[in-house]
Symmetry: C2
Subunit: 136 residues, 2 copies
Amino acid sequence: MISKTEFIQKLRNSSLRPTKQRIDICDVLFNREKTFHFTINDLFNLVKERKDQKASLATIYNTVHAFHKKGYLKEIPINSNQTYFDTNVTDHHHFFDVKEERLIDLKNEDVGPIDIQKSIPGKKIKSVEVLVKLED
Amino acid sequence: MISKTEFIQKLRNSSLRPTKQRIDICDVLFNREKTFHFTINDLFNLVKERKDQKASLATIYNTVHAFHKKGYLKEIPINSNQTYFDTNVTDHHHFFDVKEERLIDLKNEDVGPIDIQKSIPGKKIKSVEVLVKLED
DNA sequence: ATTCTTCTTTAGAATAATTATAAAAAACTA
DNA sequence: TAGTTTTTTATAATTATTCTAAAGAAGAAT
Ligand SMILES: [Mn+2]
Ligand SMILES: [Mn+2]
Ligand SMILES: [Zn+2]
Ligand SMILES: [Zn+2]
């Protein structure tokens, strides 16, 4: 359970002013047991449900991108019309349940080591991500 | 070099009427040495450049989705605002050059075999795809 | 060939996600 | 407190994609 004060600290350290909206968004995003995969709309609705505070859709977009830029959120490429974000910013892989449109974390040990035996001159590898699509 | 007649045959066999537009799109897409990664807009412009024939944007969308449904094109999930398609419909992986926004095929032998050591009850694996992001 | 039926193309409207704008509000500084 | 900067917000704009419905083309039947 991360306290409000801790969020304020973290925001300040990131040169982001600790506004009510941002603190609330932090609480929704980071006070969780498990990693959280969400779309902008998911987050908007979760924040809206809380009686104490609301944030406009624009603020959700702004904040998610601010957090993403600071490295507190990760963007997940899935074949969908909406962008997914992930509170787990470590390098890891995913199941994607196509029917339920749901992302599930795969630990690195659930997927063997992947070594890429090809290289492109002048380019280096930034990330290696596996997406495993699931069907019924 | 695939002939017009062959495209007509293939379209007919797929219960798609061989229209001028579709034949032209086939020519742009499938008369290539290498696999072709493209967005709807890329294709629209390539077809437009040809003096002999033009196709509306709506037709490009319609045709790409018809071909996709028939299994002649593959959709590639990358973190972008546009959907990418691929004329290589076999199971394979990709490099994605983030700066140049370009996809490059990886052969299966360029990536070791990937075995997923986790399963979700009631679900089976549909596909396993690796996306390797490249930076300078 | 002529007519009929079905499919396809197309322009333009509609939708949906995202980004931009700019004024009011909140946070910070002096 | 007053001044400065950042943030929020409503709203407009943009962009990719899908929908609609009328005109055109293709195929089948006559
Ligand atoms: Mn994850
Ligand atoms: Mn490919
Ligand atoms: Zn972002
Ligand atoms: Zn499709």
